[in-house]
C-alpha cells in the first residue's frame, strides 16, 4: 500500500517535470547603451565564452539564450542585445516593456558614452516597466586609458537606484558574475512576489468605487 502511494507520487513528479520544460524560471534581460560600448561582446562572452574582436555594429536586435543554475534551480535567461545606434532605436524600444532586467552599459574609457546615460534613463523611464531591475555596467576595464573613475559610476548608479558593476568582456572579468547576480536577484524577486499577490486581491471592497490597482500583474513568468 505504501509502495503504491510513493510510486504515484513519483509519477506525479515526473509529469510536472515534463510540463516545466526543464527550467523553472524564465527571465528576459535587455542590454542597452551607446554604440560601441561592448554590449555584444558582453553577451558573447557570457553565452559562448568568446571575445570576437572587430564585431560589426549590431543591427536591430540580437537574441541569445543561456540556461544557468542558481541555488539548485534552473533559470533560463533570454538575452536581448540591442543596437546602440540612434537610427535603430524604435525597434529596440519595443523590447523594454517586457524586460525583467535592463543592463545599461557604458565604456569606462569614453566619456561621451557616460554622458549619454541620463538620456538612456529617460528612455527606460518612458518605455520600461517601473519594476524592472536596472543595472549600470562600466565595461572595458582592461583598457589603460580610463576616463571614468569607478566611484563616479558608482555614484551615478546609487543616485538612480541602480546596481553597479565594472566588467571586461575581453578579459572575462565580472561578466559571469553580472549575469549570475541578475539571475539570483530576479529569482528572489519572483519568489517574494508569489505570496503577497494573492492577498492584494482579497482586500475588502467598500462601495463601488474601490480600485484593485495594477498590483495583480506579476512581473515574471514563473512556470509551475
Amino acid at each position: 500500500m505504501k509502495g503504491l502511494r510513493t510510486s504515484i507520487i513519483q509519477e506525479k513528479k515526473r509529469t510536472e517535470f515534463v510540463i516545466m520544460e526543464d527550467y523553472k524560471f524564465l527571465f528576459k534581460v535587455v542590454l542597452v547603451g551607446n554604440a560601441g560600448v561592448g554590449k555584444t561582446c558582453l553577451v558573447r562572452r557570457f553565452t559562448q565564452g568568446l571575445f570576437p574582436p572587430g564585431q560589426g555594429a549590431t543591427i536591430g536586435v540580437d537574441f541569445m539564450i543561456k540556461t544557468v543554475e542558481v541555488e539548485n534551480e534552473i533559470v533560463k535567461l533570454q538575452i536581448w542585445d540591442t543596437a546602440g545606434q540612434e537610427r535603430f532605436r524604435s525597434i529596440t524600444q519595443s523590447y523594454y516593456r517586457s524586460a525583467h532586467a535592463l543592463i545599461l552599459v557604458y565604456d569606462i574609457s569614453c566619456q561621451p558614452t557616460f554622458d549619454c546615460l541620463p538620456d538612456w534613463l529617460r528612455e527606460i523611464e518612458e518605455y520600461a516597466s517601473n519594476k524592472v531591475l536596472r543595472i549600470l555596467v562600466g565595461n572595458k576595464i582592461d583598457r589603460e586609458d580610463r576616463e571614468i573613475p569607478t566611484h563616479v559610476g558608482e555614484d551615478f548608479a546609487q543616485r538612480h537606484g541602480m546596481y553597479f558593476l565594472e566588467t571586461s568582456a575581453k578579459e572575462a572579468e565580472n561578466v559571469e558574475r553580472l549575469f549570475m547576480e541578475i539571475a539570483a536577484e530576479l529569482m528572489e524577486q519572483a519568489r517574494c512576489k508569489e505570496l503577497p499577490r494573492y492577498e492584494q486581491n482579497t482586500t475588502s471592497l467598500n462601495g463601488k468605487t474601490t480600485s484593485i490597482g495594477d498590483a495583480g500583474i506579476c512581473g515574471c513568468s514563473r512556470l509551475s
Partner: protein, 744 residues
C-alpha cells in the same frame, strides 16, 4: 606418525599405535610397488631419446644453412630495389628534362607566336601563348638558361620577350576593354573579358567587368527612379511606385547574375560569385539609398513620424494624422521589405550553390558563406531597411493605437449582443497590424509589432476596460429584468433614450463580457499567429524561432492582466449587487421558528417554505443576468452568488436555535438549495457548500454520541472542534455537559 609421537606410549593405547604402524607399513609397500612397476616404461623412453639425439644435430645444421640463404636473398633484394630507386629517379629526371625541353621549345614558339599575334591583333591567340608561358615554372627556366651556356642568349631573350609581351598584352587588353566599355561595344566587352583569365588577371577581369555591369545597373536604376517620380498620382501603381522601383532594381541585379554567372564560371572557374556580388552590392546600396531617400521625401515619412511622436507625447493638441491615411504607406514599406528579403535569399542561394562546386572544404565553405553574410549585414541595404523598419514601427504603432482608440470611441452596444463592438474591432485591427508585419518578411519587424501589440493591449486597452468597470454596476431598486423591460418599452415607444442607470448597467455587463472575450481572443490570436509565422517563415533558424517565441509569450501576460480585470469586475458585481440583494432574502431565516413539533415537521417537509422562496428569488435574480453575460462570466457570477449565499446562511444559522426537527428540516432545505445551484451551472458548487452541509449534519443528529461515530469515519472536517461545539449549543435539547464531554 605424529599420532605415534603425540600419544605417549602408554599401555592402554599401545595396541592402537601398533595398528597404526602396520597400516602405514602396508601403504609404504604399495607405493614402492607402484614405483618399481614404472621402471620399465622409463627405461624405454630414455632409449628412444638417445636414438633421436643425432637427428637433432642434423636439423640444426640444415637450419643454419637455410638462414644463410635467406640473408643472402635479402641482400640481393635490397640491392635490386636500390637500383630500381635509382632508375626511378633517373626516369623522373628524364621526364622533367623532357618537359623543360618542351617548355624551352614552347617558349621559343610562344615568344614568336605572341609577337605575330600581337601584330595581327589576334589577342586570344596571344593570350593563349602567354597562358602557356605562365603555366611554366619561371625560376626553373631561368636556371636552365644559366646552365645551358650555348643556347644562353636565345632562352633568356625568349623569356624576356614573353614577359614583355605578357605585360604588353595586359596593358592592351585592359585598354581595349576600357575602350569597349566606353563605346558600349558589348561583343568586345565580352571578348576581352574572356581574355583576362588567360593572362592571370582573374581579379582585374572580374572587377572591371562588374564595374561595367554596375554602370549599366546605375543607368537603368536612375531611369526607373526618374520614371517613378514622374508617375501621376492618378496612376493605379502610384501608391506603391517606390516599392515597384526597388523591386525593379533587385530584379535587375538578379537578372545580371542569372545571365553572367555561367560566363564567369566557364572562363574564370567557380567560386568567383562572392567577389562579383561584393561589387554589385555596392552599386545596389547606392541606388537603394537614392530610392529610399526619394521615398522618404515624397511620402513625407520623417514629417509624419515627427507629427506622430509629437501627438503621442502631448496627447493631442498638435496636428493629428488620420490612421487611415497611413494604411497605404505601411503597405508600401511592407512590400519593400519583403522584396529585399527575397533578394537577399536569392543571393544566398546562388552563393551556396557556387561554393558547393568550388570547394570541398567545409570549413572554408563556412568561412566564405560567413563573408557573404558580413557583406549583407554591413550593406547600406540592410541598414536602410532597418531604418525604414524603424519608421514603419513608429507608424504602425500609431496606426494600431489610434485605430483601436477610434473603434473604442465609436463603441456601440447592440441589444442582442453580449459584447459591444469595440472588442471585435480592436482585435481585428491588432491582428491586421501583426499580419502586415508578418508579410514584411522581417523577423525583427514581426517581433517588434508583437511587442507593441502586447504593450498596447496590456496597458491602454486594458485600462479602457478597467475604467469602465471602475464606474461600477449601479445598484437600485430595479431588477435587471425590469431594466431590460423598461429599455424594450422605451425603444418600442420610439423613445430611444434610456435612463442613465439602465444604460450604465448594460454597459457594465457588456464590458465585463468584453474583457472576458478579450482573454479568449488573445489566446486565439496567439495560436493563429504562431501558425501564420511558421507558414511565412519556413526554415527559420533556432535563434529566430526563439525570438518569435519569446515575443509571443508576451500574449500570456496580456491574458493574465485581462483576467485580473475580469476578477475586478466580478468583485464589483458581488459588492454592489449580489451581496445587498441576497442579504434580506436570507435574513428571513431569522424570523422563522426552528423549534418544530412533529405536526409541523410533516408540513415543512413538503413545503420547505424558506428555501422555496429563496430559490424563487435567486432564480429571478439570475434570470436577469443569464442572457446578458457570456457563459464563463455567468458561471463565475453563480460561483460568487453561491459563496455569498453560503456565507450569509452560515451567519444566520449561527444566530438561530434548533431542536432536532428544526435541524432535519434545515438539512433538507440546504440540500435542495445546493442541488438547485448545482443545476444552474456546470461548475461544481459542492465545495462552497461543504461547511454548511457539515453544520446541518451536526444540527440534525439524534444524540451527541452519533458525532463521535462521524469523527471516526474520518470525514474531512471543514469545521474546527470549537466550531463543532459552538454549533451543538444551538440545539436547545442538548445539555452543555454532554457537549463538553464529546471527544473530537
Amino acid at each position: 606418525m605424529n599420532m605415534v609421537e603425540d600419544t605417549p606410549p602408554k599401555e592402554e593405547n599401545l595396541m592402537t599405535v601398533i595398528d597404526k604402524l602396520q597400516e602405514d607399513d602396508i601403504a609404504v609397500n604399495k607405493h614402492l610397488d607402484h614405483i618399481l612397476s614404472k621402471h620399465c616404461h622409463v627405461e624405454a623412453k630414455l632409449q628412444s631419446i638417445s636414438k633421436i639425439l643425432p637427428n637433432i644435430a642434423i636439423v640444426r645444421l640444415e637450419a643454419e644453412k637455410f638462414q644463410n640463404v635467406i640473408g643472402h636473398t635479402n641482400n640481393l633484394a635490397e640491392k635490386v630495389s636500390a637500383k630500381v630507386r635509382q632508375l626511378d629517379l633517373a626516369r623522373s629526371r628524364v621526364c622533367e628534362c623532357q618537359s623543360r625541353v618542351n617548355d624551352i621549345l614552347d617558349l621559343q614558339l610562344c615568344s614568336d607566336g605572341v609577337a605575330t599575334a600581337l601584330r595581327n591583333e589576334d589577342y586570344e591567340q596571344g593570350a593563349a601563348h602567354v597562358h602557356r608561358f605562365l603555366l611554366m615554372d619561371q625560376q626553373l627556366l631561368e636556371r636552365t638558361a644559366d646552365n645551358v651556356s650555348g643556347d644562353h642568349t636565345s632562352v633568356t631573350s625568349s623569356l624576356a620577350n614573353l614577359q614583355q609581351a605578357a605585360n604588353e598584352l595586359r596593358a592592351v587588353i585592359t585598354h581595349k576593354f576600357d575602350e569597349a566599355v566606353k563605346s558600349e561595344d558589348l561583343a568586345s566587352i565580352e571578348r576581352f573579358f574572356k581574355v583576362f583569365p588567360l593572362l592571370g588577371m582573374h581579379n582585374d577581369g572580374i572587377t572591371k567587368f562588374c564595374h561595367y555591369l554596375c554602370s549599366k545597373l546605375q543607368e537603368t536604376a536612375q531611369k526607373n527612379l526618374k520614371a517613378a517620380l514622374d508617375v501621376r498620382s492618378t496612376d493605379k501603381r502610384s501608391a506603391v511606385i517606390f516599392a515597384d522601383t526597388i523591386t525593379m532594381l533587385f530584379e535587375g541585379i538578379a537578372r545580371i547574375i542569372e545571365v553572367h554567372q555561367p560566363i564567369v564560371e566557364t572562363y574564370y572557374g567557380p567560386g568567383k560569385l562572392l567577389s562579383c556580388i561584393g561589387i554589385l552590392q555596392k552599386e545596389c546600396d547606392k541606388q537603394i539609398k537614392k530610392v529610399i531617400s526619394e521615398f522618404t521625401k515624397h511620402r513625407k515619412i520623417a514629417k509624419r513620424v515627427q507629427l506622430i511622436n509629437e501627438y503621442l507625447r502631448k496627447q493631442g493638441g498638435t496636428e493629428r494624422v488620420d490612421p487611415k491615411d497611413l494604411d497605404l504607406v505601411l503597405s508600401e514599406i511592407t512590400i519593400m521589405h519583403i522584396r529585399a528579403e527575397l533578394y537577399i535569399k536569392f543571393l544566398r542561394r546562388r552563393i551556396i550553390n557556387d561554393l558547393e562546386i568550388s570547394t570541398t572544404d567545409t570549413q572554408q565553405r563556412k568561412d566564405l558563406l560567413n563573408d557573404f553574410e558580413m557583406i549583407i549585414k554591413n550593406s547600406e541595404l540592410a541598414c536602410s531597411m532597418q531604418e525604414l523598419l524603424g519608421a514603419y514601427l513608429a507608424v504602425e504603432k500609431y496606426f494600431m493605437e489610434e485605430s483601436v482608440n477610434k473603434a473604442i470611441g465609436m463603441d456601440a452596444l447592440d441589444q442582442d449582443q453580449q459584447t459591444s463592438s469595440m472588442v471585435d474591432d480592436a482585435f481585428f485591427i491588432v491582428k491586421k497590424c501583426i499580419r502586415r508585419a508578418i508579410s514584411s518578411g522581417s523577423i525583427d519587424g514581426v517581433c517588434a509589432v508583437i511587442n507593441m501589440a502586447c504593450g498596447f493591449l496590456e496597458s491602454d486597452f486594458t485600462n479602457q476596460l478597467r475604467n469602465r468597470l471602475r464606474q461600477g454596476y449601479p445598484a437600485g431598486y430595479l431588477d435587471l429584468a425590469q431594466a431590460y423591460n423598461a429599455l424594450q418599452t422605451s425603444i418600442q415607444h420610439g423613445r430611444i433614450q434610456t435612463s442613465d442607470t439602465e444604460l450604465a448597467r448594460l454597459m457594465f455587463l457588456a464590458y465585463l463580457n468584453n474583457t472576458e472575450v478579450s482573454i479568449e481572443y488573445v489566446e486565439t490570436l496567439n495560436k493563429s499567429l504562431s501558425i501564420d509565422i511558421d507558414q511565412a517563415f519556413q526554415n527559420m533558424q533556432t535563434k529566430e524561432k526563439g525570438k518569435i517565441e519569446s515575443c509571443l509569450a508576451g500574449m500570456k501576460n496580456v491574458a493574465l492582466t485581462l483576467r485580473t480585470v475580469v476578477d475586478y469586475g466580478l468583485e464589483q458585481l458581488r459588492v454592489s449587487t449580489v451581496k445587498p440583494r441576497i442579504t434580506p432574502w436570507i435574513d428571513a431565516f431569522l424570523a422563522i421558528n426552528h423549534q418544530i413539533n412533529d405536526d409541523e415537521l410533516l408540513r415543512y417537509e413538503t413545503d420547505e417554505p424558506f428555501v422555496q422562496s429563496l430559490v424563487t428569488n435567486l432564480e429571478g435574480f439570475l434570470q436577469g443576468f443569464k442572457n446578458s453575460l457570456t457563459e464563463p462570466n455567468y458561471n463565475a457570477l453563480i460561483g460568487i452568488l453561491t459563496a455569498e449565499v453560503a456565507a450569509r446562511l452560515e451567519k444566520v444559522i449561527l444566530k438561530s436555535t434548533f431542536n432536532r426537527n428544526g435541524g432535519l428540516i434545515l438539512d433538507k432545505e440546504i440540500r435542495s438549495l445546493a442541488s438547485y445551484l448545482a443545476s444552474a451551472t456546470s461548475w461544481s458548487v459542492r465545495d462552497k457548500f461543504a461547511r454548511l452541509m457539515q453544520i446541518t449534519t451536526i444540527l440534525s443528529v439524534e444524540k451527541i454520541e452519533e458525532l463521535a461515530d462521524y469523527c471516526e469515519d474520518s470525514i474531512a472536517w471543514r469545521l474546527t472542534p470549537a466550531e463543532v461545539r459552538k454549533i451543538l449549543t444551538l440545539r436547545t435539547d442538548f445539555r452543555q455537559e454532554d457537549i463538553k464531554r464529546l471527544k473530537i
